[in-house]
């Protein structure tokens, strides 16, 4: 197992700006000179007011947003990989095997039953359908999604139910790097507990987690460190230790 002192992810001088061609080419600078490192088994929580660029950072790490400047690197045993200049098709494999993402909202695929939405990341890796189904059902059960909903498409589910489908889908494939964008936002206390457990389990198996949590209680229970983002510069500071926890750096 890679030691905790060696980061799995490192971000240096990250810069992100949007150019809005519809607004006479106005440039919207949302992040500048952001640095962070993240080790296996560690959970780093991004903090700061909304609109500060927390989700933007996750989306850059997931390849959904382009990187304007700076570097994003993953450190593997046999060398590092720079994410900023990868050809598009490289992300197919990267997302399947390395970088998982639990978004704030479930992008509903019409007509696909909830259990199959959850199975999909495993099926993409070629896992046998029956195995994938068992694992998906186990997760949905843990997240207290009523069994009668498993075979229904999540389009008509409540926000909380959709979120749980989304969480199951994000955690099922046990990616080494997990990006969590407010996974507990619309959950009740009992299900928040389950998500906290899932995060602890992921850390225990060595996954590196980078998350956004507005719920302070959850944040304090899962975060090893906090990374506060500040206006216009993203996080100028390297992570400060989170309250009541020893920072690992």
């Amino acid at each position: 197992m890679t030691s905790l002192t060696q980061p799995f992810l490192s971000v240096d001088a990250l810069h992100k700006a949007f150019v809005l061609h519809g607004q006479d080419g106005m440039t919207l600078e949302v992040m500048r000179d952001l640095h962070l490192t993240l080790s296996p088994g560690e959970c780093l929580v991004l903090s700061g007011p909304s609109g500060i660029g927390k989700s933007t950072l996750l989306k850059m790490l997931h390849g959904s947003y382009r990187v304007t400047g700076g570097t994003l690197r993953l450190h593997f045993e046999d060398g590092e990989l720079s994410l900023g200049d990868l050809p598009a098709h490289a992300w197919h494999t990267l997302r399947r095997d390395v970088i998982g993402y639990v978004s704030q909202f479930l992008r509903v695929i019409p007509r696909v039953p909830a259990v199959e939405v959850v199975m999909e990341p495993l099926l993409a890796r070629g896992v046998d359908t029956a195995d994938a189904r068992v694992r998906a059902e186990t997760l949905l059960a843990r997240l207290n999604l009523p069994e009668r909903l498993w075979r229904l498409p999540p389009g008509t589910f409540s926000g909380g139910e959709q979120q749980r489908v989304n969480i199951a889908r994000g955690f099922i494939a046990e990616h080494p790097l997990l990006l969590l964008d407010e996974p507990t936002a619309s959950l009740d206390a009992a299900n928040r507990e389950v998500v906290i457990e899932l995060i602890h389990e992921a850390k225990a198996r060595g996954a590196a987690l980078l998350g956004i949590f507005h719920d302070e209680e959850v944040r304090d229970r899962v975060a090893d460190r906090l990374l506060p983002l500040t206006p216009h510069m993203g996080a100028a500071l390297e992570a400060a230790p989170s309250a009541g926890k020893e920072g690992v750096s």
Binding site: Y65, E77, D78, W91, D97, V98, P110
Partner: protein
């Protein structure tokens, strides 16, 4: 953890293909690369040149300039010349090109009536490619036909019914079954959900997603519908006036478009 192998073999490559019917009409000097197991969406408004590009890539229309290179997994036949089993689509003979289209590739037309034989039953439609490949066992052909009807969610008891008795959505599913029955290496789809009702579209899209994954299909998909592109494609190419204005990962193109035209296109979509 070891560095994952991010390379994927290229299945189809176009180098500088052009076909112009007039200034800005058609497509001009376009490079395309499709990797194995990938769904590449080509989006753009009508007249952007996306359908012309599809015709050039699929062997239906010879480009004025440029090459289309197909790299089959296994080198096959005497026409497979050149490096690493490359097949230059417009340098090989017409016989080989047609055989390729018939045996190894598939084409799903927007209008199912263009892709189906309306005079013969659903089963005969699905079985045709099998018979063209030399399958000569009636019961087996029929069994495969029934299996495929269920796969595309058609009632397999209707295997002897004529396609005219099917609805538009059913005809489209029949066309897809007919095309995929031989498990082609490469499938071209031209607005596959184009003429269908919204409710029927959703069902078809879901079915296509499943088939793409289960069969490991490589697909080039032409659509003007960004929602369809998002659901089905891994990568997107945005075309305008015969040129590619932007290309990249699907969610990158749709969530963080760089080019002015792409931004306009994405922001013009109505999201309910």
């Amino acid at each position: 953890m070891k560095r994952p192998d991010l390379n994927r073999a290229t299945l189809l490559e176009a180098r500088g293909v052009s076909r112009l019917y007039g200034p800005g009409k058609g497509c001009e000097s376009i490079d395309v690369r499709l990797h194995r197991g990938e769904v590449l969406g080509i989006v753009g408004e009508s007249g952007s040149g996306k359908s012309t590009l599809l015709r050039l890539l699929s062997g239906m229309e010879r480009p004025d300039a440029g090459q289309v290179i197909y790299r089959p997994a296994v080198a096959q036949g005497r026409d497979t010349v050149g490096r690493e089993g490359e097949l230059d689509l417009y340098a090989i003979g017409e016989a080989r090109r047609r055989a390729l289209l018939r045996m190894e590739w598939g084409l799903v037309h927007q209008n199912p009536r263009d892709g189906l034989r309306l005079g013969v039953s659903a089963g005969a439609n699905i079985g045709e490619r099998l018979m063209a490949l030399g399958e000569r066992h009636y019961s087996q052909i029929r069994a495969v036909g029934q299996d495929w009807m269920s796969r595309v969610e058609l009632d397999s008891r209707r295997i002897d019914d004529a396609p005219q008795t099917f609805s538009g959505g059913m005809q489209q599913r029949l066309q897809i079954a007919r095309t995929l029955v031989t498990r082609p290496n490469l499938v071209f789809m031209d607005e596959p959900t184009g003429g269908l009702d919204v409710s029927v579209q959703a069902r078809l899209l879901d079915m296509l997603r499943t088939l793409v994954r289960e069969l490991g299909l490589s697909v080039i998909l032409v659509t003007h519908d960004l929602a369809v592109a998002r659901l089905l494609s891994h990568r997107l190419m945005v075309m305008r006036r015969g040129q590619v204005v932007e290309a990249g990962l699907t969610d990158q193109i749709l969530d963080d478009p760089q080019h002015a035209y792409t931004q306009l296109l994405v922001s013009s979509v109505l999201t309910p």
